[in-house]
């Protein structure tokens, strides 16, 4: 009885906060655009009873999903989002791995401080931090002033409102999610493994590739998913730092909802986005599962 209760509670939670909203969004995606409040039809009237429910289901269609395939804006936005997320993930890995490595090799008494520094940005609102990058990256921003002052460049660089700014924003925002799992993996590693590798004829570099990297593999995979999954649907960063030609599905979604007020098409975009992300999420879960088995 108590066990059943323990299992039921989290499932109720998932049902209320994930499944119900998803069903509502799916319902809107299957509806048609209409000038009304809310702006779609059919709408279910509880007083119409059983017949009303049947009429509603009869009115559902996949028109909006078909529409998504007809206008190439959408699949281009999906592809571009995946590409930006993938490149950002690789960049985060390139930046995050050395940081995590240095943290794991740092003297014991320094590690809490270094960990603190990685987590510290979370104490400020995400929105404010992304806004701050506007001040740094704009033509008159601090970065350009610094580079001009040093004489490194003649003309100010145009970084803000380009894809580069989006990459910088995503890597900056999600870097801690890359660092922490890799650090956890490296921290657990027994230092004598590297000595053993050297003893058996490895140079420092080959010991890194043959021992350190494989042993931090699960941290790399976890960190990559933690960056990739939210980056695909990212809206704030491309909206604030990206240019008008930065195409990301999060922005398209926002415009459908709030500029066109076409809730059904926007919902269809959201449903497809979710389906695309289910694949990496399932892969991520499997990686975590495997990790637990190895540790257990």
């Amino acid at each position: 009885m108590r066990r059943a209760l323990l299992i039921v509670v989290p499932y109720l939670w998932l049902l209320a906060l994930f499944l119900v909203p998803f069903v509502i969004v799916l319902k809107i995606a299957l509806s048609d655009y209409n000038l009304s409040i809310p702006p779609y039809s059919p709408q279910y009237d509880p007083s119409s009873g059983w017949q009303g429910l049947r009429d509603m289901f009869a009115a559902f269609d996949f028109e909006n999903f078909v529409f998504l395939t007809e206008d190439d804006l959408y699949w281009k936005a999906y592809l571009s989002s995946l590409q930006i997320a993938l490149i950002s993930t690789l960049l985060s890995l390139l930046v995050g791995y050395p940081i995590a490595y240095a943290m794991a090799r740092a003297p014991e008494q320094w590690r809490p401080t270094l960990m603190m520094l990685v987590i510290l940005p979370f104490w400020t609102s995400f929105l404010i931090r992304v806004y701050a990058w506007k001040g740094i990256l704009s033509t008159e921003g601090y970065l350009n002033q610094l580079l001009l002052g040093l004489g490194a460049i003649e003309q100010p660089l145009t970084i803000l409102n380009t894809d580069t700014a989006v990459y910088i924003g995503i890597v900056y925002t999600y870097l801690p999610f890359m660092i922490l799992p890799i650090y956890a993996a490296l921290d657990k590693m027994d230092g004598s493994l590297l000595e053993a590798a050297e003893d058996l004829g490895c140079s420092r570099l080959s010991a890194f590739w043959l021992v350190t990297v494989p042993l931090s593999r699960n941290g790399i995979i976890a960190g990559s998913f933690l960056v990739f999954i939210p980056a695909v649907g990212e809206f704030v960063i491309p909206a604030l730092l990206g240019g008008s030609d930065t195409l990301m599905i999060g922005k398209v979604l926002y415009e459908e909802f709030f500029n066109n007020r076409d809730w059904p098409v926007a919902s269809a975009v959201a449903v497809i986005l979710l389906l695309i992300l289910v694949i990496p999420i399932v892969l991520f879960q499997r990686n975590q599962q495997k990790q637990r088995e190895l540790d257990g």
């Binding site: 493994l193 000595e195 053993a196 003893d199 058996l200 004829g201 490895c202 140079s203």
Partner: protein, 374 residues
């Protein structure tokens, strides 16, 4: 023809495999190794024995190349090892934690070093299979380290460090993680493998029984210095200091002033007791302070005063430690000193002759005790 015994250290024509020449190692202001000079010969099973923090692990890490001596030289086959990094030395190490690569199978772990040497596939496979056979691990070759037992992991670590056929194999507390029974079996296995492969082994241990069992020679270390290097029997029977006598096995040490007599010395250790006599070739001045070390198994316990022995003391049994095969008696003298005596329990316990508070006579022969200057 007399059987040739393995004693290269007594043969002046024999060239040592490893020479320590005035080696010191300091970490900041702390001296881990203090100006040590000694030799290790090919095919030896050499044990570095000492309490934790005595510098034995530092000694081994210098041989492996993970630490460089602050002063002095270490020579391997006459060649100075200082400029050779660990991955180029013909020395392999078996780590205390085994340090098996958790992402590789047993087979791949053993093949790791061979692959780094760029050997061809057939050679590697043959060598790995030979190592698996030597350590009886054939059945487990495809398992990962976390899927095998502690004893099997220990053998994988041994096989991996032997795979490259090093000139010198270093073993850092190799049996520390095993339980007592498995450890004993493994000690004999180690000796067997050492003999079969003809590799020179240097073992670091804090377990004196282990060092005595496996080693051809034992170096007893204390505080960065080797106190005595000798064969296990000489370390036990002829310790050169009270430190060695006390560290190896059980011993009673009596302190007193000596008087030369009859090719030996009388030691006066207490005012109310007769002096104790020990034969000794030591050169001690009359009236000098010296120490007498006597092993418990050389002390006889009798209910009556034995007539034929020179060293006879009366005491009362304070404690009895029953070890199954042996019993150790702690006998208190009237002056408060305690002398340990050990007897073999050749008869069943029901017939035990002594019990607590019994008055007994302790006695030993003239040559049983060792007289030490420090």
């Amino acid at each position: 023809m007399p059987e040739k015994t393995f004693e290269p250290w007594n043969d002046p024509t024999e060239k040592p495999l490893i020479e320590f020449k005035g080696v010191s190692k300091r970490f900041g202001s702390f001296t881990a190794i203090d100006n040590q000079t000694f030799d290790i010969y090919a095919k030896e099973f050499f044990a570095l024995l000492g309490p934790s923090g005595c510098g034995k692990t530092t000694m081994m890490r210098m041989l492996a190349g993970f630490e460089a001596p602050t002063e002095g030289h270490i020579l391997l086959g006459g060649q100075d090892m200082a400029p050779i990094p660990p991955n180029k030395r013909q020395v392999n190490m078996m780590f205390q934690s085994y340090a098996l690569f958790p992402h590789l199978s047993v087979w791949e772990n053993i093949a790791f070093g061979l692959k780094r040497d760029g050997k061809d596939k057939a050679t590697i496979a043959a060598r790995v299979d030979a190592m698996l056979k030597l350590t009886r691990l054939e059945k487990f070759s495809q398992r990962k380290p976390h899927q095998i037992s502690g004893g099997q992991r220990q053998r994988v670590a041994l096989a991996r460090s032997l795979a490259k056929a090093p000139k010198l194999l270093l073993l850092d507390e190799p049996l520390g993680a095993l339980d007592a029974k498995l450890r004993q079996e493994t000690q004999f296995e180690l000796m067997d493998i050492q003999e079969k492969t003809g590799t020179t082994f240097v073992i670091v241990t804090h377990d004196q029984e282990e060092a005595m069992t496996v080693a051809s020679r034992v170096a007893v270390m204390d505080d960065g210095r080797i106190v005595q290097v000798d064969t296990p029997d000489r370390i036990y029977e002829n310790p050169n200091s009270t430190y060695v006598a006390d560290f190896i096995g059980d011993v009673t040490i009596l302190e007193g002033r000596v008087t030369p007599v009859d090719g030996g010395f009388d030691l006066a250790f207490a005012e109310d007791q007769p002096a104790i006599y020990a034969k000794s070739s030591q050169h001690l001045a009359s009236g000098q302070t010296a120490y007498l070390a006597i092993r418990p198994e050389k002390v006889s316990v009798t209910p009556e005063k034995p007539a034929d022995r020179r060293n006879v003391i009366r005491g009362k049994i304070l404690d009895i430690a029953y070890l199954g095969n042996l019993s150790t008696y702690h006998v208190a003298l009237p002056g408060g000193q305690i002398i340990k005596a050990q007897t073999a329990n050749t008869r069943r316990l029901a017939n035990r002759p002594f019990t607590w508070e019994d008055e007994v006579w302790l006695s030993w022969t003239d040559t049983a005790a060792v007289l030490l200057e420090r």
